[in-house]
Symmetry: C2
Subunit: 416 residues, 2 copies
């Protein structure tokens, strides 16, 4: 591997993409099965390379949580191989016919799913992304250009070795998965050239995403943060209000589909004691508007404007009493990031209006925001969750790594 | 109208979008019908404003072809009103359910089409774009932000007047169609702010597109140029080869789906005389490789490398003899812009391989490239033709001005 120049990435990636997009399902699946086998056979070498990266990270004084994300053990490595086999077992999105018609002049038109081409993924410490992304790209007929963290360099090299041998076993080009190294500035140059790849997918923090949005002339498919809302309507059932709010906030607070703000209809201040009480017991720090703080006898800090737009990703919740459904909709329109919002209500009319007006990727009626997830939606593997408005919105599945092609077959038709 | 600041565009556009996306089909169609009516009733005022723009353009010495594009007459104005009524008659893409399932836990999930939000269209002299784009955006529930040419300012103001009154008649906000003026530099600033709009669509020359790709932090949905190919295979039928090549080159040479390069299998040099002869008779200037020039007794200039990548948009054709199908595929892979390519063949195997390997938006077997068009494909109105790989590829229809939203309805489900 090593640093390869921008031109080399474009040329080698393009040559490999040409072969990948004509490879059939069985060949791509055979490569995945072979990769899983090599990952298992190479376990000792991979774990020893990982131990080297981990030792270097510890010596550099990197935070324990990051060291944990970097670390592989036999169990995690087995899970990696199993994930590759699970991707192989998914339906092939490539070749799926999504539209077909016969035109007035007898032409037969089909619209068929084809690989996007070359997917550049920029990610941080977790070495499992190397294998996950390689597997998803191979399955969908795409070339993966991987730009991992330098802190995982030895691990990624060992994993890449297994991936390349699996590709070769199936007769696919090793360049179907290319590793790219280099500084942040070199990455900026790379993505400023539209020839480098067809899309860029950042998998990391907001800073990485902003860097790519700033510098990339290649379309960026960004998984975005979620400032998610739960709204308790005038017609909310109390037990449901408690269960959904607690689940949306507490079940896994560090992820993008967790709730960050609770909105409560002014006629239902009676919900505040049971809902906020349960949250308080679950260890949630509360920050409320004046009406919230006056209505209930719990330790609630005064919320500021900043709280309405903060994605805490932690056991903290902002709480606001709103005059009515319209006020809730206005709050959401102003502060939501377009990820996931929920209403708890028994009113069909309120549910309908919430669903129609809330402009988010995923809108819930009487269910927790935590369900926004490719696995939960029955899509198999997911690449992230999109709050963009073009191409894909919501969980990004395997099919979203494809584009379409029209194939028009005639008997000599010409245009009049 | 006049110049409105970047913040004003974002705020007013967002407020209007919130109303538009909740407006039902009947209301949006009523606005379109009212707009058509106002365009007819305002004919005198619109034509007089247009005469003013045309006089100024003539005084400035602008090229006659541009003056013609700028000019409206009673017939063109009638056609504009008719086009608005035709858009009203199309199926509503908004609210269409594109997927639905019941999840294992009983949740009901639907994936429904919703407006993208705010569509900024930057276009040049033709005032009909003002009305076309406004109609397509209103139909698809989007706010249109229109940035036309200063040379059509008076005309656009008069047309905008009719559009706004039509919106008001239907009870929709006049800000559903906002006109933006200002210099190129101000446009650059406007699109550098992601809050301005949800997508930008350039409708103009390559320079405008490049400017937007360079400066925009808003996703750009660009209709791209077409360096389109016709390949005559070893098994090509001679009559079909002549008819398709002539149609693809001659029927309307100035458009993006016209052929620019002809590739001919080396075993079929016999096709060169009838095909190139017919093109020559039709007034096409030919530029060929050495083998082409040696094979046929016609005036054919020597093609240089530059010819393979040139989109002539004129009665000029580059011609190259290739060793076999694979050599044709290699040429296309290297030089095509991913728009439309055709093979003429009686071989099912060659057709299949061409269709599988050619990575263009539209691939034709035994039919002219000239069919790449939303109208021909039965899609109704089209916004352009996309050679991008995300969101839409090929003709951009009304549905492509929408995104999707997941609506998940439960009975209190929480995530375990």
């Amino acid at each position: 591997m090593g640093i390869i120049s921008s031109n080399a990435v474009a040329d080698r990636g393009r040559a490999a993409a040409r072969i990948l997009r004509a490879a059939d399902t069985a060949t791509r699946d055979a490569a995945l099965t072979a990769i899983a086998r090599h990952l298992e056979a190479d376990a000792a070498a991979i774990l020893s390379a990982n131990a080297q990266d981990v030792a270097a990270a510890v010596a550099e004084g990197i935070a324990a949580s990051l060291v944990d994300r970097l670390t592989l053990d036999p169990q995690r490595l087995d899970a990696l191989a199993a994930a590759v086999r699970a991707v192989a077992a998914l339906d092939d999105p490539v070749g799926r016919i999504v539209d077909d018609r016969r035109l007035h002049n007898g032409l037969e038109l089909i619209k068929v799913r084809v690989p996007i081409g070359r997917v550049l993924v920029v990610y941080e410490a977790r070495p499992n992304v190397t294998v996950d992304v390689a597997a998803l790209c191979i399955k969908s007929g795409n070339v993966a250009l991987l730009r991992g963290s330098s802190s995982a360099r030895a691990t990624n090299a060992a994993l890449g070795n297994a991936v390349r041998r699996g590709l070769a076993d199936a007769g696919l080009p090793e360049d179907a998965v290319l590793s790219i190294e280099g500084t942040r500035a070199e990455l900026g140059e790379l993505v400023s050239d539209p020839a480098t790849a067809d899309i860029v997918v950042p998998r990391g923090g907001e800073a990485l995403k902003d860097f790519l949005l700033e510098h990339s002339r290649i379309p960026v498919l960004a998984a975005a943060g979620g400032n998610c809302h739960v709204y308790l309507d005038r017609e909310a059932d109390q037990a449901m209000a408690v269960a959904i709010t607690v689940n949306a906030k507490v079940q896994r607070p560090g992820v993008c589909n967790a709730a960050e703000t609770l909105l409560v209809h002014a006629d239902r201040l009676d919900l505040l004691a049971p809902v906020l009480g349960a949250l308080h017991e679950a260890g949630v720090e509360l920050r409320g508007c004046d009406r919230t703080r006056a209505a209930v006898d719990l330790p609630i800090a005064a919320a500021t404007d900043a709280d309405w737009s903060t994605e805490y990703l932690d056991l903290v919740l902002a709480v606001r009493v709103v005059d009515d459904l319209d006020a809730a909709l206005e709050h959401i329109d102003r502060y939501a990031t377009g990820h996931s919002e929920a209403i708890v209500t028994d009113s069909l009319e309120a549910a309908r209006r919430f669903v129609d007006v809330v402009d988010s990727a995923c809108v819930y009626v009487n269910a927790s925001t935590r369900f926004t997830d490719g696995g939960e939606y029955g899509m198999g593997a997911e690449v992230g969750n999109s709050t963009a408005r073009l191409h894909v919105r919501g969980p990004i599945g395997l099919e979203d790594l494809t584009t379409t092609k029209y194939v028009v077959t005639g008997t000599g038709q010409i245009r009049a």
